[in-house]
């Protein structure tokens, strides 16, 4: 079954002929880039990374390491999603505005370089999740070969391991804006607070975690298995993270779970009209 899906992936890449890949340095895009490179060769593959304040530095390092190690043709472009008030106001479809810019830019790069198709790293598990960014991709003709081949995240990890990719067991690392509660404006300062707080947790040895930004509050989610360690380290962690400008540091008792801020979407949508003017004013 897995072999068949992998074969389907290689067939899709051969059909595309040449590809421009949105490359974040995460599990999916590294795997896709490596397979594309193996199937198509370096002349017909380009991995493109969009750099902005919302892109985690730790992921940038991994992206560059894989480029160096595997010889993936690579280009970095600066993106300016924070300049878009629709994005910065942080509505529940924020990703749509970010990805709209990213995929438009990649389409330009692909056209300039004569690459036939723009690809993203969406996989079969992403279907049904709250992912407005996928809508932006579809609107711009971006293809998702991992998804089209039916590959799940677990399968991509398994295949990545067999290919010797260092990302095979990398925790998911979406953009830093995903940590900021919907309706609270995305600003460079808040993104830095999130990144610095997560650097503190990483430095303390935590592996899977998020720092959720609720305005003056930092809500820490750590993997349930690491909850006791977080409690042991609580005083020091709280002091350091408060030093970044938070008034309260709270530990979520249910621990890390993917898309936790999406749990507030219904509430957000109900109050969006009330909060949107304030968020827009803040970023204006």
């Amino acid at each position: 079954m897995l072999e068949q899906k992998f074969t389907r992936l290689t067939e899709l890449l051969e059909e595309f002929g040449s590809v421009c890949i949105g490359y974040s340095g995460g599990v999916d895009s590294v795997f896709l880039s490596k397979v594309a490179l193996d199937v198509l060769g370096p002349e017909r593959v380009l991995a493109v990374t969009g750099l902005s304040e919302a892109y985690p530095g730790v992921q940038h390092e991994m992206a560059l390491e894989c480029v160096r190690r595997f010889g993936i043709p690579h280009l970095e472009i600066e993106t300016h999603e924070l300049d878009d008030p629709n994005y910065a106001a942080n509505p529940s479809n924020r990703c749509y505005f970010c990805k709209s810019e990213l995929w438009s830019r990649l389409a330009e790069v692909a056209a300039e370089r004569g690459l036939a198709v723009v690809l993203d790293g969406s996989n079969a598990d992403d279907v049904g999740d709250h992912r407005p960014g996928m809508q932006a991709a579809r609107e711009r003709g971006v293809r998702s070969p991992l998804l089209e081949a039916g590959l799940t995240k677990a399968e991509i990890r398994e295949l990545s391991r067999s290919l010797g990719l260092p990302t095979w067991d990398l925790p998911a690392a979406p953009c830093l804006a995903s940590r900021i509660q919907y309706g609270i404006a995305v600003t460079p300062k808040r993104l830095r607070q999130v990144e610095d707080a997560e650097t503190i947790l990483r430095g303390a040895g935590f592996r899977e975690f998020r720092v959720r930004h609720h305005g003056d509050i930092a809500r820490l989610e750590v993997a349930p298995g690491e909850l006791h360690r977080a409690l042991e380290l609580a005083p020091g962690l709280a002091r350091q993270i408060r030093g970044l400008g938070f008034e309260r540091v709270l530990l979520d008792l249910q621990g890390y779970r993917r898309g936790a801020l999406n749990e507030s979407i219904t509430l957000t949508q109900l109050t969006a009209d009330r909060q949107a003017p304030a968020a827009r004013a803040e970023v204006a």
């Binding site: 509660q181 609270i184 409690l231 008792l253 249910q254």
Partner: protein
């Protein structure tokens, strides 16, 4: 509402109001489970976070109650890391 609320008001806690029925229900729930040392406030821009003040050794018991606490109308159930009875 309680000592925590009176001594350490935050804008969000004030927004949630001193007569928040969710907090009254939460205190009842904590009492039913013998967690008399625990205090709670509603924080966050919409009062969506239950912030519990408790000694750290009660964290496991509070985690077991998290789902029940969310049913009272909170999106997140948390422990305030700087009000745990530990000298920071």
């Amino acid at each position: 509402m309680n000592d925590e609320f009176e001594q350490q008001p935050s804008p969000a806690a004030e927004d949630s109001g001193g007569d928040d029925p969710r907090l009254a229900a939460l205190q009842d729930l904590l009492q039913q489970h013998g967690l008399l040392e625990v205090r709670a406030v509603a924080v966050g821009s919409r009062g969506e976070i239950a912030a519990l003040t408790a000694p750290l050794h009660l964290a496991d018991r509070l985690a077991e109650l998290a789902t029940a606490i969310k049913r009272l109308g909170f999106l997140y159930v948390t422990l305030d890391l700087e009000n745990t009875g530990v000298d920071t």
